[in-house]
């Protein structure tokens, strides 16, 4: 009870819970799920972009893309460490990912079909991720909030790079412009869906808000994001594929087209174009690397014995 009181006090004064602090099991579980999902998303999210590294159309873009995918691996590791502070080791988390028990951001189950997708993913997908994550920098769990600060910094760098790719294409040849518009057309709706179902249909976020993990509702975040991209797409001289998009003065909100939540749920359920491929790639990398990890462990054990003996 003393623990619970202290926990409540920390939450109330908007201070931070640290790993050694007492915390309710449900809080621990919620955070573990959310942080590991986030980590998994970074790791799986490497794949659509890695798909274009070997084909990047200039050496400069190749270097930028490689560095970006590296950063994602780094974020993944950082978030796994954060999750481990809650008591679940990384190999357990990785198993949950590989067996399909744990989720990751559904957007990565769409293919990266053209080079312009490197732009659209950076601008829209990373953009949506940032909109989601900036408030998480103040999340009540210390390691999570701190990880988010660092990650958000890099993500906004990535978002700018994505925007630059699109800008270059939009000012390029007709074929490049078409490629850019096509990528935006494909990623617009899925990126809006990254904020989750409408508030009217999102019953679970009350507890997260009370625990000061979640600070804004799905729709609030989506609104911010839409407001942002509406302005930015003008700079590109391209369009968002949404005939219904308009600012409604009366409610002070953006009205957009209906999103296909049936598809959204189907993709989460495993029916997306690339779910099977993404998980399989992860499993293949893990399985094919087993002998390497075993050798490294055996070597470390041998060296430890040697040191003991000496």
């Amino acid at each position: 009870q003393a623990g619970q009181d202290r926990f409540n006090a920390i939450i109330a004064e908007d201070s931070r819970i640290e790993p050694r602090d007492w915390m309710p099991e449900a809080y621990r579980k919620t955070l573990t799920r959310q942080m590991s999902q986030h980590a998994h998303s970074e790791i799986i999210g490497m794949q659509p972009e890695a798909n274009w590294i070997t084909r990047a159309p200039s050496l400069k873009r190749k270097a930028i893309l490689m560095a970006k995918v590296q950063d994602e691996a780094g974020h993944g590791l950082y978030l796994y460490s954060g999750t481990e502070t809650l008591g679940t080791p990384r190999d357990v988390l990785n198993d949950q990912l590989m067996t399909g028990k744990a989720k990751y951001s559904s957007i990565f189950n769409y293919p990266a079909r053209s080079w312009a997708d490197m732009g659209a993913i950076g601008w829209l997908v990373d953009g949506a991720a940032i909109a989601n994550q900036v408030p998480l920098c103040r999340a009540s769990y210390g390691p999570y909030g701190r990880a988010m600060v660092r990650i958000c910094k890099e993500e906004s760098f990535h978002q700018r790079q994505g925007f630059e790719i699109l800008l270059e294409l939009a000012n390029g040849t007709e074929a490049q412009k078409k490629m850019a518009q096509d990528a935006i057309n494909r990623f617009y709706a899925p990126s809006l869906m990254m904020f989750g179902p409408p508030d009217s249909d999102s019953p679970n976020s009350g507890q997260s808000t009370a625990w000061k993990i979640k600070r804004f509702s799905n729709d609030e975040l989506r609104q911010r994001f839409v407001g942002m991209i509406v302005e930015q797409v003008k700079v590109l001289g391209l369009t968002l594929p949404d005939p219904e998009l308009r600012f409604d003065e009366e409610s002070g909100t953006w009205k957009h087209m209906d999103l296909d939540w049936v598809e959204f749920k189907a993709v989460i359920a495993g029916n997306g174009p690339c779910n099977a491929q993404r998980l399989q790639r992860r499993r293949d990398a893990h399985n094919e690397g087993a002998w390497v990890r075993e050798a490294a462990a055996a070597y470390a054990a041998k060296m430890a014995r040697k040191t003991e003996v000496a």
Binding site: I43, M46, Q47, A50, I53, T54, R55, A56, P57, S58, L59, K60, R61, K62, A63, M66, A67, V69, Q70, A73, G74, G76, L77, W115, I165, E168, L169, G172, T173, A175, Q176, R281, D284, A285, E288, G289, A290, W291, V292, R293, E294, A295, A296, A297, A298, Y299, A300, K302
Partner: protein, 245 residues
């Protein structure tokens, strides 16, 4: 000069093709730490490639991308060893061991190049390659000593790659013509052999005895692999002639 550009092209092409090969590991490594490590090495090599190719390109009034994307296979100057497939992680590590020791010696020697640009690029590169060498050596020890399986794979990797070691140390007329600008590859051989022999010994592995292959990448005579590497690397750029990215 044209000859300095030709020399820079050789250094650049080795780094570019190696970067292209290594980058395939990103999202496929045995652990995420290795996605990062091999990715970093690839990124470093790409950086070296860009510096050398930009320098070479200037002599011909071209850009790094002209050289990377618009040359044909026979105009590339890469060594066969960097064109070899990644194989399993062991093959990649052995290739890294072979190349990083070589590049470390080469760039160290090129610190004294009479060409200030080559010396400057080498000065930056040598520090990074030093890390690549540490990485390759650390893994060679782990895999050579680790388990029977890993030792077996390392012996296999050494056999598979050794044929392409000979070419690395072959001098060309270009080297003599360039004098103090270049380093004769043959001059690196003794130190390279000494170093790799020591590492392999520590790793409880042996120098392979398989014969060297006739490999003449420096003359544009490449392995059968390069055509496939270039087809993939150049496909998008070539679909959009004149475009910028």
């Amino acid at each position: 000069s044209e000859q300095v550009a030709e020399y820079a092209l050789r250094l650049g092409d080795d780094a570019l093709i190696l970067a292209q090969r290594l980058s395939h590991w990103i999202s496929r490594g045995p652990e995420i730490e290795e996605d990062i490590a091999l990715g970093n090495i690839a990124l470093d090599q790409l950086g070296h490639a860009r510096s050398f190719l930009s320098y070479a390109a200037k002599a011909w009034g071209k850009t790094e991308d002209d050289l990377a994307y618009w040359r044909e296979e026979e105009d590339f100057r890469s060594l066969h060893i960097v064109e070899q497939p990644n194989g399993d992680f062991g093959v990649t590590i052995v290739r890294q061991l072979i190349i990083s020791i070589y590049q470390h010696l080469l760039y160290t020697a090129l610190l004294d190049s009479a060409d200030p640009t080559i010396a400057a690029i080498s000065a930056k590169a040598v520090k990074e390659v030093d890390y690549h060498r540490d990485h390759a050596i650390a893994w060679t020890l782990r895999l050579g000593i680790g388990t029977e399986e890993s030792a077996r794979r390392m012996r296999h990797a050494l056999e598979v790659l050794w044929p392409y070691v000979g070419e690395m140390f072959e001098d060309e007329e270009l080297h003599a013509a360039l004098g103090d600008v270049a380093v004769a590859p043959s001059s690196l051989r003794a130190a390279w052999e000494e170093e790799i022999t020591a590492v392999l010994k520590d790793a409880e592995l042996e120098l392979p005895t398989v014969p060297f292959a006739m490999a003449r990448g420096r003359r544009g005579e490449h392995s059968e692999h390069l055509g496939f590497i270039l087809a993939e690397m150049q496909v998008l750029a070539r679909k959009h002639p004149g475009a910028t990215w």
